[in-house]
Amino acid sequence: MMLQNYVPILIIGVIAIAFACGSVILSSLIGQKKPNEDKLSPYECGNVPIGDARDRYPVRYYIIAMLFIIFDIEAAFMYPWAVLFKKLGWLGFIEMMVFLFILVLGFIYVWAKGALEWE
């Protein structure tokens, strides 16, 4: 009985898939094919592409990205805490300090290991 509510979603899914597949298959069947060099090159805002799209970049960016996520989450976590600071009282304060302490320990480790040095 719960399943019946999902029938419209199923129908829309089927139509979407049929439309996507159908337009690709139909255009490859009845469309005209006059390939030339410009047409076959990858589309990049009309410019001639330079180099490979899969470029290599330094692994350090990953560490920066990870650190960013950690402090991003910290900020996201601290905001509601700050709003409800008075309601949460001392317990909330201590718990937040424990959380920050752990985070800072991790940061000290990363710093001391030299992950933040660019060269």
Binding site: M2, L3, I102, L105, G106, I108, Y109, A112, K113
Partner: protein, 471 residues
């Protein structure tokens, strides 16, 4: 309140200590001694808090005799693993030994939380904490290609398994609108006929099956066992099995009206798991790969005990997994000793071990026979409890298949023992065995024989733990 979660807090503080200690290059042997000391203190702390009871953090965290018992086994297992990781460990691990201990303690913390969590988000976080640390531990030998490959495979399969579990839970959540397992427990009975809900619960089991290496999610096992450092492999093969069994027991107990309807599927999974593990293990030439397949098969036996959904089946599973920890750890310890000397884990590395290290090879032989279920050792007793609880529920065919499987397993366990006993060694000198390893070997021999003849203390303890879990 802090008294109740003291083992976890202590484990966490120790982990942080090792993280900070990693900044300063401290001598590896000092760290090893500190790690042993801390894990010993941890065991004592868990023992002191054994009788505590209560629910904390708004009903997300349950402390009872069951969870404390599991924590005790985990703490003892961690002590064994750190004891095994002595100064003969690989150089890469040696130079990062503090981090190694940090990850071990973090994984143990995750597993301790896994034993206590009764709320889905807590459960999932604990599961991920133990999984992620293990992905890193597997890839710890960064100069070995096979280790990196194992870590990547482990990571991908693990992430997919976690994702399926989350999806399954999202279905369950759509029925209950609650993440607390304890409050869901009361409502389960009324809705257990719905197909979608059953699919949700089936998906929900994925990550836990992955942890125990039960068949559809066991393909990481051989590569990971082979690729990781033997210390880490021993950790995955022993301690993490205990945690996996503990959490599966809790899930099966809490939602048994649902899972009892899926009995046929679960029985089929158990049969396929043990048959596959045993049949493939027969052909293995690498000791660690062989043990990987053997552990898949053993997970099948454990699943048989768990899906009986009665107290005797669950208690015998707990009994079996505890004895399995000692048996399997003994085998890994011997392999580790041999590997450090010969730099290979090929089955021929054990050649003539009985003459070069009689005590070690006796411990190995007993552990292997016990794993294969030969009477009168503890493995036989454990299997006997599991199979008898299955027979008392009328699953004759299942027990027959499991029995045949355990006959197959004796064959390949004896193949390993044959190398140690029937061949002459290439070298004439005795193998150097340190005193702690000798002490452990005596302990293992005594445990395997004594618990085989007189399983009552361990079984009584398991029954008491299960009583707390159900009650």
């Amino acid at each position: 309140m802090i008294v109740y979660i003291l083992p976890e807090v202590l484990t966490f503080c120790i982990a942080l200590f090792f993280l900070i200690a990693a900044i300063k290059k401290v001598n590896m042997e000092t760290m090893h001694k500190l790690g042993m000391l801390f894990s010993f203190i941890n065991i004592i702390v868990v023992l002191i808090g054994m009788g505590l009871n209560g629910t904390f953090f708004y009903g997300t965290y349950k402390i009872d005799f069951f969870s404390q018992s599991i924590k005790l086994i985990l703490a003892i297992g961690l002590f064994f693993i750190i004891f095994m990781a002595d100064k003969r460990i690989e150089d890469v691990v040696k130079s990062n030994y503090s981090e190694f201990l940090f990850f071990l303690y973090s994984a143990n913390l995750g597993m301790m939380m896994l034993a206590s969590a009764v709320e889905f988000i807590t459960l999932f976080l604990a599961l991920e904490l133990s999984s992620y640390t293990m992905f890193i531990l597997v890839g710890f030998l960064k100069n070995r290609k096979i280790s990196a490959e194992a870590a990547i495979k482990y990571l991908f399969i693990g992430v997919v398994a976690s994702a399926i579990t989350l999806y399954g839970y999202s279905i369950i959540f759509s029925y209950y609108g609650d993440t607390s397992l304890t409050s869901m427990r009361t409502g389960t009975i009324f809705m257990s006929k719905d197909v979608i809900l059953h699919i949700g619960f089936m998906f929900f089991l994925t990550a836990f099956f992955f942890k125990l290496a039960i068949l559809p999610f066991s393909f990481w096992a051989p590569d990971v066992y082979q690729g990781a450092s033997t210390n880490v492999t021993a950790y995955i093969a022993t301690v993490s099995k205990v945690a996996g069994v503990a959490v599966l027991l809790r899930i099966f107990v809490y939602f048994f009206p649902v899972f009892i309807e899926q009995e046929e599927i679960l029985i089929l999974i158990a049969i396929i798991t043990m048959t596959y593990g045993n049949l493939v293990a027969v052909q293995q030439k690498d000791l660690k790969r062989l043990l990987a397949y053997s552990s898949i098969a053993q997970a099948g036996y454990m699943l048989v005990g768990m899906i009986m959904f009665n107290k005797s089946g669950m208690a015998s599973t707990l009994f079996y997994v505890t004895s399995y920890l000692v048996m399997n750890f003994t085998v890994f310890l011997v392999i580790d000793q041999v590997e450090k000397e010969k730099k290979t884990t090929d089955i021929t590395a054990l050649k003539g071990l009985s003459q070069r290290a009689p005590l070690l090879s006796l411990a190995l032989l007993l552990a292997l026979l016990s794993l294969g279920g030969v009477p009168p050792f503890v493995g036989f007793t454990g299997k006997w409890f599991i199979f008898s609880s299955a027979i008392s529920k009328g699953y004759l065919t299942l027990v027959l298949i499991a029995f045949l499987n355990s006959v197959i397993s004796v064959y390949y366990y004896l193949l390993v023992a044959r190398q140690a006993y029937l061949f002459l060694p290439d070298e004439s000198d005795k193998m150097k065995v340190t005193v702690p390893v000798k002490i452990y070997s005596y302990f293992a021999i005594v445990f395997i024989i004594a618990m085989g003849f007189y399983p009552a203390p361990l079984l009584n303890w398991a029954e008491k733990a299960v009583k707390f879990l159900v009650g």
